[in-house]
Symmetry: C2
Subunit: 298 residues, 2 copies
Protein backbone atom coordinates (compact mmCIF):
# COMPACT_ATOMS: atom_id res chain seq x y z
CA UNK A 1 0.00 0.00 0.00
CA UNK A 2 1.33 3.40 -0.98
CA UNK A 3 1.02 5.87 1.87
CA UNK A 4 2.26 9.39 2.57
CA UNK A 5 5.10 9.73 5.10
CA UNK A 6 3.57 12.74 6.80
CA UNK A 7 -0.01 13.78 7.43
CA UNK A 8 -1.34 17.09 8.76
CA UNK A 9 -4.26 16.78 11.15
CA UNK A 10 -6.35 19.93 11.28
CA UNK A 11 -8.16 20.17 14.59
CA UNK A 12 -11.64 21.60 14.14
CA UNK A 13 -13.10 20.64 17.53
CA UNK A 14 -13.25 24.15 19.01
CA UNK A 15 -15.35 25.25 15.99
CA UNK A 16 -17.08 22.35 14.23
CA UNK A 17 -17.23 20.36 17.46
CA UNK A 18 -18.44 22.98 19.91
CA UNK A 19 -20.92 24.60 17.51
CA UNK A 20 -22.82 21.33 17.52
CA UNK A 21 -22.78 20.77 21.26
CA UNK A 22 -25.72 21.92 23.37
CA UNK A 23 -23.60 22.84 26.36
CA UNK A 24 -22.10 26.35 26.41
CA UNK A 25 -18.44 26.35 27.38
CA UNK A 26 -17.07 29.36 29.24
CA UNK A 27 -14.64 31.56 27.34
CA UNK A 28 -11.84 31.00 29.85
CA UNK A 29 -12.26 27.23 29.53
CA UNK A 30 -12.18 27.41 25.75
CA UNK A 31 -8.98 29.41 25.96
CA UNK A 32 -7.38 26.96 28.36
CA UNK A 33 -8.47 24.07 26.15
CA UNK A 34 -7.12 25.62 22.94
CA UNK A 35 -3.85 26.40 24.76
CA UNK A 36 -3.68 22.72 25.76
CA UNK A 37 -4.33 21.72 22.16
CA UNK A 38 -1.57 24.07 21.02
CA UNK A 39 0.95 22.03 23.02
CA UNK A 40 0.05 18.63 21.58
CA UNK A 41 2.02 19.05 18.37
CA UNK A 42 -1.01 20.08 16.31
CA UNK A 43 -0.01 22.67 13.71
CA UNK A 44 -3.49 23.91 12.81
CA UNK A 45 -6.48 24.65 15.03
CA UNK A 46 -9.75 26.14 13.90
CA UNK A 47 -10.65 27.95 17.06
CA UNK A 48 -14.01 29.56 16.41
CA UNK A 49 -16.50 30.96 13.93
CA UNK A 50 -17.53 34.52 13.13
CA UNK A 51 -20.97 33.48 12.05
CA UNK A 52 -23.57 35.76 13.67
CA UNK A 53 -24.12 34.75 17.33
CA UNK A 54 -27.83 34.54 16.62
CA UNK A 55 -27.12 31.40 14.60
CA UNK A 56 -24.39 29.87 16.74
CA UNK A 57 -24.60 31.23 20.29
CA UNK A 58 -22.03 28.65 21.43
CA UNK A 59 -19.36 30.63 19.56
CA UNK A 60 -20.57 34.16 20.32
CA UNK A 61 -17.30 34.80 22.20
CA UNK A 62 -15.15 34.40 19.07
CA UNK A 63 -13.25 37.69 19.51
CA UNK A 64 -12.64 37.13 23.22
CA UNK A 65 -11.34 33.62 22.63
CA UNK A 66 -8.89 34.78 19.99
CA UNK A 67 -7.77 37.82 21.96
CA UNK A 68 -7.37 35.88 25.19
CA UNK A 69 -5.33 33.11 23.66
CA UNK A 70 -1.60 32.74 24.35
CA UNK A 71 -0.53 31.60 20.92
CA UNK A 72 2.17 29.15 19.96
CA UNK A 73 4.49 30.03 17.07
CA UNK A 74 4.09 26.54 15.61
CA UNK A 75 0.31 26.70 15.35
CA UNK A 76 -1.92 28.31 12.72
CA UNK A 77 -5.09 29.61 14.36
CA UNK A 78 -8.02 29.77 11.98
CA UNK A 79 -11.68 30.73 12.11
CA UNK A 80 -14.75 30.40 9.97
CA UNK A 81 -16.04 33.62 8.39
CA UNK A 82 -19.35 33.80 6.51
CA UNK A 83 -19.11 37.34 5.10
CA UNK A 84 -17.29 40.69 5.23
CA UNK A 85 -18.63 41.54 8.68
CA UNK A 86 -17.29 38.24 9.98
CA UNK A 87 -13.95 38.84 8.27
CA UNK A 88 -13.64 42.27 9.85
CA UNK A 89 -14.18 40.82 13.31
CA UNK A 90 -11.72 38.01 12.57
CA UNK A 91 -9.07 40.47 11.39
CA UNK A 92 -9.62 42.64 14.45
CA UNK A 93 -8.90 39.56 16.52
CA UNK A 94 -5.73 39.01 14.48
CA UNK A 95 -6.66 35.66 13.00
CA UNK A 96 -3.91 33.72 11.16
CA UNK A 97 -6.09 32.15 8.50
CA UNK A 98 -9.75 32.26 7.55
CA UNK A 99 -12.19 29.72 6.17
CA UNK A 100 -15.17 30.41 3.97
CA UNK A 101 -17.86 27.83 3.40
CA UNK A 102 -20.58 26.67 1.10
CA UNK A 103 -22.33 23.46 0.21
CA UNK A 104 -22.06 21.24 -2.85
CA UNK A 105 -25.79 20.66 -2.59
CA UNK A 106 -28.15 23.36 -3.81
CA UNK A 107 -30.77 22.73 -1.14
CA UNK A 108 -28.27 22.29 1.71
CA UNK A 109 -26.63 25.56 0.67
CA UNK A 110 -30.00 27.27 0.53
CA UNK A 111 -30.92 25.87 3.91
CA UNK A 112 -27.63 26.87 5.55
CA UNK A 113 -26.73 30.15 3.84
CA UNK A 114 -30.12 31.15 2.47
CA UNK A 115 -28.63 31.62 -0.99
CA UNK A 116 -28.35 29.57 -4.14
CA UNK A 117 -24.92 28.24 -5.05
CA UNK A 118 -24.60 30.88 -7.79
CA UNK A 119 -25.55 33.65 -5.37
CA UNK A 120 -22.96 32.41 -2.87
CA UNK A 121 -19.89 32.80 -5.10
CA UNK A 122 -19.74 36.63 -5.08
CA UNK A 123 -20.13 36.72 -1.28
CA UNK A 124 -17.22 34.34 -0.87
CA UNK A 125 -15.17 36.08 -3.53
CA UNK A 126 -15.41 39.40 -1.74
CA UNK A 127 -14.22 37.79 1.51
CA UNK A 128 -11.43 35.89 -0.24
CA UNK A 129 -10.10 39.01 -1.97
CA UNK A 130 -10.22 41.08 1.19
CA UNK A 131 -8.57 38.38 3.29
CA UNK A 132 -5.78 37.85 0.80
CA UNK A 133 -5.21 41.60 0.64
CA UNK A 134 -4.53 41.37 4.37
CA UNK A 135 -2.05 38.58 3.70
CA UNK A 136 -4.27 35.82 5.07
CA UNK A 137 -4.50 32.34 3.63
CA UNK A 138 -8.03 31.28 2.81
CA UNK A 139 -9.46 27.84 3.19
CA UNK A 140 -12.80 26.84 1.68
CA UNK A 141 -15.16 24.33 3.24
CA UNK A 142 -17.25 22.53 0.70
CA UNK A 143 -19.87 20.51 2.55
CA UNK A 144 -22.10 17.56 1.61
CA UNK A 145 -19.69 16.50 -1.15
CA UNK A 146 -20.94 12.92 -1.03
CA UNK A 147 -24.47 13.01 0.32
CA UNK A 148 -26.99 15.64 1.32
CA UNK A 149 -29.82 15.26 3.84
CA UNK A 150 -32.27 16.78 1.34
CA UNK A 151 -31.01 15.63 -2.06
CA UNK A 152 -29.29 12.32 -1.39
CA UNK A 153 -26.22 11.57 -3.52
CA UNK A 154 -24.38 14.58 -4.89
CA UNK A 155 -23.01 14.12 -8.43
CA UNK A 156 -19.22 14.15 -8.61
CA UNK A 157 -19.33 16.59 -11.55
CA UNK A 158 -21.09 19.14 -9.36
CA UNK A 159 -18.29 18.97 -6.79
CA UNK A 160 -15.69 19.33 -9.55
CA UNK A 161 -17.51 22.35 -10.99
CA UNK A 162 -17.77 24.15 -7.63
CA UNK A 163 -14.17 23.27 -6.75
CA UNK A 164 -13.07 24.87 -9.98
CA UNK A 165 -14.86 28.10 -9.10
CA UNK A 166 -13.50 28.17 -5.56
CA UNK A 167 -9.93 27.63 -6.68
CA UNK A 168 -10.35 30.25 -9.40
CA UNK A 169 -11.24 32.87 -6.82
CA UNK A 170 -7.96 32.23 -5.02
CA UNK A 171 -8.88 29.82 -2.23
CA UNK A 172 -5.74 27.94 -1.30
CA UNK A 173 -7.19 24.75 0.14
CA UNK A 174 -10.56 23.09 -0.06
CA UNK A 175 -11.82 20.92 2.77
CA UNK A 176 -14.14 18.35 1.23
CA UNK A 177 -16.82 17.53 3.78
CA UNK A 178 -18.88 14.39 4.12
CA UNK A 179 -21.01 16.50 6.41
CA UNK A 180 -23.64 13.92 7.28
CA UNK A 181 -21.22 10.99 7.33
CA UNK A 182 -22.86 8.83 4.70
CA UNK A 183 -19.84 8.16 2.48
CA UNK A 184 -18.16 4.83 1.83
CA UNK A 185 -14.68 4.24 0.35
CA UNK A 186 -15.91 3.63 -3.21
CA UNK A 187 -17.62 7.04 -3.17
CA UNK A 188 -14.46 8.66 -1.86
CA UNK A 189 -12.56 6.95 -4.65
CA UNK A 190 -14.99 8.18 -7.30
CA UNK A 191 -14.91 11.73 -5.98
CA UNK A 192 -11.15 11.95 -5.62
CA UNK A 193 -10.51 10.25 -8.96
CA UNK A 194 -12.50 12.97 -10.67
CA UNK A 195 -10.89 15.80 -8.70
CA UNK A 196 -7.32 14.55 -8.95
CA UNK A 197 -7.39 14.30 -12.72
CA UNK A 198 -7.88 18.08 -12.74
CA UNK A 199 -6.35 19.35 -9.52
CA UNK A 200 -3.30 18.66 -7.36
CA UNK A 201 -3.98 16.57 -4.25
CA UNK A 202 -2.36 19.14 -1.96
CA UNK A 203 -5.23 21.51 -2.70
CA UNK A 204 -7.54 19.28 -0.68
CA UNK A 205 -8.20 18.22 2.88
CA UNK A 206 -10.76 15.54 3.74
CA UNK A 207 -13.37 16.23 6.39
CA UNK A 208 -15.27 13.14 7.49
CA UNK A 209 -18.01 12.84 10.03
CA UNK A 210 -18.26 9.38 11.56
CA UNK A 211 -22.04 9.11 11.62
CA UNK A 212 -22.08 5.62 10.11
CA UNK A 213 -18.65 4.44 11.24
CA UNK A 214 -16.96 4.74 7.87
CA UNK A 215 -14.68 7.73 8.55
CA UNK A 216 -11.43 5.83 9.10
CA UNK A 217 -12.08 3.55 6.13
CA UNK A 218 -12.70 6.66 4.03
CA UNK A 219 -9.49 8.19 5.33
CA UNK A 220 -7.58 5.04 4.44
CA UNK A 221 -8.95 5.31 0.92
CA UNK A 222 -7.97 8.99 0.76
CA UNK A 223 -4.46 8.26 2.03
CA UNK A 224 -3.98 5.65 -0.66
CA UNK A 225 -4.96 8.29 -3.23
CA UNK A 226 -2.31 10.69 -1.97
CA UNK A 227 -4.29 12.95 0.35
CA UNK A 228 -2.27 14.23 3.31
CA UNK A 229 -4.57 16.62 5.16
CA UNK A 230 -7.47 15.56 7.36
CA UNK A 231 -9.87 17.47 9.60
CA UNK A 232 -10.92 15.94 12.89
CA UNK A 233 -12.33 16.90 16.28
CA UNK A 234 -10.92 15.93 19.62
CA UNK A 235 -13.15 13.38 21.32
CA UNK A 236 -15.30 13.15 18.20
CA UNK A 237 -17.00 16.32 19.42
CA UNK A 238 -20.13 17.58 17.78
CA UNK A 239 -22.26 14.48 17.89
CA UNK A 240 -25.40 16.32 18.83
CA UNK A 241 -27.51 13.61 20.45
CA UNK A 242 -30.84 15.22 19.53
CA UNK A 243 -30.59 15.71 15.78
CA UNK A 244 -31.24 12.85 13.42
CA UNK A 245 -28.27 12.10 11.22
CA UNK A 246 -26.01 14.61 12.93
CA UNK A 247 -22.79 13.24 14.32
CA UNK A 248 -19.35 14.40 15.24
CA UNK A 249 -16.23 14.58 13.17
CA UNK A 250 -13.96 11.61 13.27
CA UNK A 251 -12.13 11.79 16.63
CA UNK A 252 -8.63 13.23 16.36
CA UNK A 253 -7.18 10.62 18.71
CA UNK A 254 -8.75 7.72 16.78
CA UNK A 255 -7.35 9.10 13.53
CA UNK A 256 -3.98 9.56 15.23
CA UNK A 257 -3.99 5.95 16.47
CA UNK A 258 -4.45 4.63 12.95
CA UNK A 259 -1.87 6.95 11.44
CA UNK A 260 0.72 6.17 14.11
CA UNK A 261 0.12 2.46 13.69
CA UNK A 262 0.72 2.79 9.98
CA UNK A 263 4.00 4.60 10.56
CA UNK A 264 2.73 7.95 9.27
CA UNK A 265 4.25 10.94 11.00
CA UNK A 266 2.01 13.70 12.42
CA UNK A 267 4.19 15.22 15.18
CA UNK A 268 1.25 14.86 17.58
CA UNK A 269 1.56 13.42 21.06
CA UNK A 270 -1.23 10.98 21.98
CA UNK A 271 -1.03 11.51 25.74
CA UNK A 272 -1.20 15.28 25.46
CA UNK A 273 -4.12 14.91 23.09
CA UNK A 274 -6.00 12.63 25.48
CA UNK A 275 -5.42 15.03 28.37
CA UNK A 276 -6.98 17.79 26.30
CA UNK A 277 -9.89 15.48 25.44
CA UNK A 278 -10.61 14.70 29.09
CA UNK A 279 -10.39 18.42 29.91
CA UNK A 280 -13.15 19.37 27.46
CA UNK A 281 -15.19 16.31 28.41
CA UNK A 282 -15.29 17.53 31.97
CA UNK A 283 -16.29 21.02 30.90
CA UNK A 284 -19.06 19.66 28.67
CA UNK A 285 -20.29 17.46 31.50
CA UNK A 286 -21.05 14.53 29.23
CA UNK A 287 -19.13 11.47 28.19
CA UNK A 288 -17.33 11.67 24.87
CA UNK A 289 -17.04 8.40 23.04
CA UNK A 290 -13.82 8.20 21.13
CA UNK A 291 -12.28 4.75 21.19
CA UNK A 292 -8.98 5.99 22.63
CA UNK A 293 -10.76 7.86 25.44
CA UNK A 294 -12.78 4.76 26.28
CA UNK A 295 -9.62 2.67 26.48
CA UNK A 296 -7.82 5.29 28.55
CA UNK A 297 -10.62 5.56 31.10
CA UNK A 298 -10.78 1.82 31.81
Amino acid sequence: MKLPKHVTIKEVGPRDGLQNEIEMIQTKDKIEWIENLSKTGLSYIEVTSFVHPKWIPQLADAVDVLKGLKREESVTYAALVPNMRGLERALEANIDEVSVFMSASESHNKNNINKSIEETYPVLEEVVQAAKKEGKQVRGYLSTVIGCPYEGKIPVEQVVRITDRLLEMGIEEISLGDTIGVGVPTEVEALLSALLTRFNSNLFAMHFHDTRGTALANILQSLEMGLTKFDSSLGGLGGCPYAKGASGNVATEDLLYMLQGMGINTNIDMDALLNAAFFIEEKLGKQLNSKQMNIARK
Copy 2:
Protein backbone atom coordinates in the same frame (compact mmCIF):
# COMPACT_ATOMS: atom_id res chain seq x y z
CA MET B 1 -10.47 -0.35 -6.27
CA LYS B 2 -10.88 -4.07 -6.84
CA LEU B 3 -13.63 -5.50 -4.66
CA PRO B 4 -15.46 -8.81 -4.41
CA LYS B 5 -19.06 -8.88 -5.68
CA HIS B 6 -20.32 -10.94 -2.76
CA VAL B 7 -19.32 -11.11 0.90
CA THR B 8 -20.42 -13.58 3.55
CA ILE B 9 -21.00 -12.08 6.97
CA LYS B 10 -20.68 -14.63 9.75
CA GLU B 11 -22.70 -13.56 12.75
CA VAL B 12 -20.89 -14.42 15.99
CA GLY B 13 -22.93 -12.27 18.37
CA PRO B 14 -24.76 -15.09 20.16
CA ARG B 15 -21.36 -16.63 21.01
CA ASP B 16 -18.51 -14.12 20.92
CA GLY B 17 -20.86 -11.29 21.83
CA LEU B 18 -22.85 -12.81 24.67
CA GLN B 19 -19.88 -14.59 26.25
CA ASN B 20 -18.41 -11.16 26.92
CA GLU B 21 -21.54 -9.56 28.31
CA ILE B 22 -22.14 -9.49 32.05
CA GLU B 23 -25.90 -9.87 31.74
CA MET B 24 -27.27 -13.42 31.49
CA ILE B 25 -29.85 -13.79 28.75
CA GLN B 26 -32.67 -16.30 29.27
CA THR B 27 -32.57 -19.35 27.01
CA LYS B 28 -35.97 -18.60 25.47
CA ASP B 29 -34.83 -15.09 24.61
CA LYS B 30 -31.65 -16.37 23.01
CA ILE B 31 -33.72 -18.75 20.93
CA GLU B 32 -36.12 -16.03 19.84
CA TRP B 33 -33.18 -13.76 19.01
CA ILE B 34 -31.36 -16.39 16.94
CA GLU B 35 -34.61 -17.18 15.14
CA ASN B 36 -34.91 -13.47 14.33
CA LEU B 37 -31.32 -13.46 13.09
CA SER B 38 -32.08 -16.49 10.94
CA LYS B 39 -34.64 -14.45 9.00
CA THR B 40 -32.35 -11.51 8.18
CA GLY B 41 -30.63 -13.21 5.27
CA LEU B 42 -27.58 -14.23 7.31
CA SER B 43 -26.29 -17.60 6.12
CA TYR B 44 -24.07 -18.41 9.10
CA ILE B 45 -24.68 -17.93 12.81
CA GLU B 46 -22.40 -19.07 15.58
CA VAL B 47 -25.01 -19.70 18.22
CA THR B 48 -23.12 -20.80 21.30
CA SER B 49 -20.03 -22.39 22.82
CA PHE B 50 -19.50 -25.81 24.41
CA VAL B 51 -16.73 -24.54 26.62
CA HIS B 52 -17.30 -25.73 30.19
CA PRO B 53 -20.00 -23.62 31.90
CA LYS B 54 -17.56 -22.99 34.74
CA TRP B 55 -15.63 -20.73 32.34
CA ILE B 56 -18.51 -19.16 30.47
CA PRO B 57 -21.70 -19.36 32.53
CA GLN B 58 -23.46 -17.06 30.05
CA LEU B 59 -23.46 -19.94 27.54
CA ALA B 60 -24.18 -22.83 29.92
CA ASP B 61 -27.47 -23.45 28.09
CA ALA B 62 -25.74 -24.39 24.81
CA VAL B 63 -27.61 -27.66 24.32
CA ASP B 64 -30.98 -26.17 25.19
CA VAL B 65 -30.48 -23.26 22.80
CA LEU B 66 -29.59 -25.55 19.91
CA LYS B 67 -32.35 -28.03 20.66
CA GLY B 68 -34.99 -25.32 21.12
CA LEU B 69 -34.17 -23.54 17.90
CA LYS B 70 -36.47 -23.67 14.89
CA ARG B 71 -33.84 -23.78 12.20
CA GLU B 72 -33.86 -22.21 8.74
CA GLU B 73 -32.64 -24.32 5.82
CA SER B 74 -30.58 -21.41 4.51
CA VAL B 75 -28.56 -20.95 7.70
CA THR B 76 -25.53 -22.84 9.00
CA TYR B 77 -25.65 -23.03 12.79
CA ALA B 78 -22.23 -23.35 14.36
CA ALA B 79 -20.76 -23.58 17.84
CA LEU B 80 -17.39 -23.37 19.49
CA VAL B 81 -15.98 -26.60 20.88
CA PRO B 82 -12.82 -26.73 22.97
CA ASN B 83 -12.34 -30.50 23.22
CA MET B 84 -13.90 -33.96 22.72
CA ARG B 85 -16.38 -33.50 25.54
CA GLY B 86 -17.57 -30.26 23.96
CA LEU B 87 -17.81 -31.91 20.57
CA GLU B 88 -19.94 -34.73 21.95
CA ARG B 89 -22.39 -32.26 23.44
CA ALA B 90 -22.44 -30.27 20.19
CA LEU B 91 -23.12 -33.39 18.14
CA GLU B 92 -25.89 -34.44 20.54
CA ALA B 93 -27.45 -31.06 19.86
CA ASN B 94 -27.13 -31.70 16.13
CA ILE B 95 -24.81 -28.81 15.34
CA ASP B 96 -24.19 -28.02 11.64
CA GLU B 97 -20.57 -26.94 11.94
CA VAL B 98 -18.03 -26.68 14.73
CA SER B 99 -15.22 -24.28 15.50
CA VAL B 100 -12.03 -25.03 17.36
CA PHE B 101 -9.79 -22.30 18.66
CA MET B 102 -6.30 -21.40 19.70
CA SER B 103 -4.14 -18.34 19.89
CA ALA B 104 -1.24 -17.20 17.73
CA SER B 105 0.43 -15.90 20.88
CA GLU B 106 2.13 -18.38 23.18
CA SER B 107 1.19 -16.55 26.36
CA HIS B 108 -2.36 -15.74 25.28
CA ASN B 109 -2.85 -19.41 24.39
CA LYS B 110 -1.41 -20.46 27.75
CA ASN B 111 -3.63 -18.01 29.52
CA ASN B 112 -6.80 -19.05 27.68
CA ILE B 113 -6.34 -22.78 27.16
CA ASN B 114 -3.73 -23.53 29.78
CA LYS B 115 -1.53 -25.24 27.18
CA SER B 116 1.41 -24.29 25.04
CA ILE B 117 0.78 -23.91 21.31
CA GLU B 118 2.52 -27.26 20.66
CA GLU B 119 0.39 -28.96 23.30
CA THR B 120 -2.78 -27.54 21.77
CA TYR B 121 -2.39 -29.11 18.31
CA PRO B 122 -3.17 -32.73 19.30
CA VAL B 123 -6.25 -31.64 21.26
CA LEU B 124 -7.59 -29.79 18.23
CA GLU B 125 -6.60 -32.57 15.86
CA GLU B 126 -8.62 -35.11 17.81
CA VAL B 127 -11.68 -32.86 17.66
CA VAL B 128 -11.19 -32.08 13.97
CA GLN B 129 -10.89 -35.76 13.01
CA ALA B 130 -13.91 -36.76 15.06
CA ALA B 131 -16.02 -33.89 13.72
CA LYS B 132 -15.11 -34.63 10.12
CA LYS B 133 -15.92 -38.28 10.67
CA GLU B 134 -19.41 -37.10 11.56
CA GLY B 135 -19.53 -35.11 8.34
CA LYS B 136 -19.17 -31.74 10.01
CA GLN B 137 -17.20 -28.84 8.58
CA VAL B 138 -14.61 -27.47 10.96
CA ARG B 139 -13.64 -23.85 11.36
CA GLY B 140 -10.56 -22.77 13.30
CA TYR B 141 -10.32 -19.55 15.25
CA LEU B 142 -6.82 -18.22 15.45
CA SER B 143 -6.80 -15.33 17.88
CA THR B 144 -4.39 -12.44 18.55
CA VAL B 145 -2.99 -12.67 15.01
CA ILE B 146 -1.85 -9.04 15.08
CA GLY B 147 -1.35 -8.11 18.71
CA CYS B 148 -1.44 -9.85 22.07
CA PRO B 149 -2.19 -8.25 25.42
CA TYR B 150 0.86 -9.98 26.93
CA GLU B 151 3.38 -10.11 24.10
CA GLY B 152 2.55 -7.10 21.93
CA LYS B 153 3.05 -7.56 18.20
CA ILE B 154 2.81 -11.14 16.91
CA PRO B 155 5.28 -12.00 14.12
CA VAL B 156 3.61 -12.74 10.80
CA GLU B 157 5.76 -15.88 10.38
CA GLN B 158 4.25 -17.30 13.55
CA VAL B 159 0.74 -16.89 12.17
CA VAL B 160 1.81 -18.50 8.88
CA ARG B 161 3.36 -21.44 10.73
CA ILE B 162 0.30 -22.10 12.89
CA THR B 163 -2.03 -21.65 9.90
CA ASP B 164 -0.06 -24.29 8.07
CA ARG B 165 -0.52 -26.76 10.93
CA LEU B 166 -4.25 -26.02 11.27
CA LEU B 167 -4.90 -26.49 7.55
CA GLU B 168 -2.83 -29.67 7.54
CA MET B 169 -5.07 -31.20 10.18
CA GLY B 170 -8.10 -30.65 7.91
CA ILE B 171 -9.60 -27.42 9.16
CA GLU B 172 -11.58 -25.93 6.28
CA GLU B 173 -11.56 -22.27 7.22
CA ILE B 174 -9.48 -20.16 9.54
CA SER B 175 -10.93 -17.08 11.17
CA LEU B 176 -8.04 -14.69 11.78
CA GLY B 177 -8.79 -12.70 14.90
CA ASP B 178 -7.54 -9.30 15.91
CA THR B 179 -8.86 -10.22 19.31
CA ILE B 180 -7.88 -7.08 21.18
CA GLY B 181 -8.56 -4.76 18.25
CA VAL B 182 -5.13 -3.20 17.92
CA GLY B 183 -4.55 -3.75 14.21
CA VAL B 184 -4.22 -1.12 11.51
CA PRO B 185 -4.51 -1.62 7.73
CA THR B 186 -0.76 -1.87 7.13
CA GLU B 187 -0.58 -4.74 9.60
CA VAL B 188 -3.50 -6.46 7.92
CA GLU B 189 -1.72 -6.01 4.61
CA ALA B 190 1.52 -7.51 5.95
CA LEU B 191 -0.29 -10.47 7.49
CA LEU B 192 -2.44 -11.24 4.46
CA SER B 193 0.41 -10.72 2.01
CA ALA B 194 2.36 -13.42 3.81
CA LEU B 195 -0.61 -15.79 4.08
CA LEU B 196 -1.88 -15.34 0.54
CA THR B 197 1.46 -16.17 -1.06
CA ARG B 198 1.03 -19.65 0.47
CA PHE B 199 -2.69 -20.17 0.87
CA ASN B 200 -5.88 -19.42 -1.05
CA SER B 201 -7.87 -16.44 0.22
CA ASN B 202 -11.08 -18.47 0.52
CA LEU B 203 -9.49 -20.41 3.39
CA PHE B 204 -9.72 -17.29 5.57
CA ALA B 205 -12.29 -15.16 7.32
CA MET B 206 -11.32 -11.95 9.09
CA HIS B 207 -12.46 -11.34 12.65
CA PHE B 208 -11.94 -7.77 13.84
CA HIS B 209 -12.77 -6.26 17.17
CA ASP B 210 -13.33 -2.52 17.01
CA THR B 211 -11.53 -1.57 20.20
CA ARG B 212 -9.59 1.26 18.58
CA GLY B 213 -12.00 2.09 15.77
CA THR B 214 -9.96 0.52 12.98
CA ALA B 215 -12.18 -2.49 12.18
CA LEU B 216 -13.87 -1.12 9.06
CA ALA B 217 -10.60 0.27 7.71
CA ASN B 218 -9.05 -3.16 8.28
CA ILE B 219 -11.99 -4.79 6.51
CA LEU B 220 -11.57 -2.42 3.57
CA GLN B 221 -7.94 -3.46 3.35
CA SER B 222 -8.93 -7.15 3.53
CA LEU B 223 -11.56 -6.71 0.82
CA GLU B 224 -9.01 -5.15 -1.47
CA MET B 225 -6.82 -8.20 -0.94
CA GLY B 226 -9.60 -10.55 -1.98
CA LEU B 227 -11.04 -11.64 1.36
CA THR B 228 -14.78 -12.33 1.23
CA LYS B 229 -15.70 -13.64 4.69
CA PHE B 230 -16.01 -11.47 7.79
CA ASP B 231 -17.11 -12.18 11.35
CA SER B 232 -19.18 -9.59 13.18
CA SER B 233 -21.58 -9.25 16.10
CA LEU B 234 -24.96 -7.61 15.99
CA GLY B 235 -24.89 -4.32 17.88
CA GLY B 236 -21.12 -4.63 18.36
CA LEU B 237 -21.93 -6.96 21.24
CA GLY B 238 -19.24 -8.07 23.62
CA GLY B 239 -17.79 -4.73 24.58
CA CYS B 240 -17.38 -5.60 28.23
CA PRO B 241 -17.24 -2.21 29.90
CA TYR B 242 -15.14 -3.38 32.84
CA ALA B 243 -12.14 -4.99 31.20
CA LYS B 244 -9.30 -2.89 29.93
CA GLY B 245 -8.73 -3.37 26.22
CA ALA B 246 -11.71 -5.66 25.77
CA SER B 247 -14.24 -4.53 23.21
CA GLY B 248 -16.87 -5.97 20.97
CA ASN B 249 -16.61 -7.29 17.47
CA VAL B 250 -17.26 -4.88 14.68
CA ALA B 251 -21.05 -4.38 14.58
CA THR B 252 -22.76 -6.44 11.88
CA GLU B 253 -25.01 -3.56 10.84
CA ASP B 254 -22.08 -1.12 10.53
CA LEU B 255 -20.21 -3.61 8.37
CA LEU B 256 -23.38 -4.14 6.33
CA TYR B 257 -23.79 -0.39 5.80
CA MET B 258 -20.30 -0.10 4.32
CA LEU B 259 -20.66 -3.19 2.14
CA GLN B 260 -24.06 -2.15 0.81
CA GLY B 261 -22.76 1.34 0.06
CA MET B 262 -19.91 -0.17 -1.92
CA GLY B 263 -22.31 -2.28 -3.94
CA ILE B 264 -21.18 -5.57 -2.42
CA ASN B 265 -23.93 -8.15 -2.12
CA THR B 266 -24.57 -9.91 1.20
CA ASN B 267 -28.25 -10.92 0.95
CA ILE B 268 -28.84 -9.37 4.36
CA ASP B 269 -31.72 -7.04 5.13
CA MET B 270 -30.75 -3.99 7.20
CA ASP B 271 -34.17 -3.41 8.76
CA ALA B 272 -34.51 -7.00 9.88
CA LEU B 273 -31.00 -6.83 11.30
CA LEU B 274 -31.76 -3.66 13.26
CA ASN B 275 -34.94 -5.16 14.66
CA ALA B 276 -32.91 -8.09 15.95
CA ALA B 277 -30.37 -5.65 17.41
CA PHE B 278 -33.01 -3.72 19.34
CA PHE B 279 -34.48 -7.01 20.56
CA ILE B 280 -31.23 -8.14 22.19
CA GLU B 281 -30.51 -4.63 23.45
CA GLU B 282 -33.75 -4.71 25.38
CA LYS B 283 -32.96 -8.13 26.82
CA LEU B 284 -29.48 -7.00 27.87
CA GLY B 285 -30.94 -3.90 29.46
CA LYS B 286 -28.11 -1.68 28.30
CA GLN B 287 -27.58 0.56 25.32
CA LEU B 288 -25.62 -0.92 22.46
CA ASN B 289 -23.61 1.56 20.47
CA SER B 290 -23.47 0.61 16.85
CA LYS B 291 -23.66 3.59 14.53
CA GLN B 292 -26.69 2.27 12.66
CA MET B 293 -28.58 1.66 15.92
CA ASN B 294 -27.79 5.17 17.10
CA ILE B 295 -29.09 6.64 13.85
CA ALA B 296 -32.21 4.47 13.94
CA ARG B 297 -33.10 5.43 17.50
CA LYS B 298 -32.95 9.19 16.85
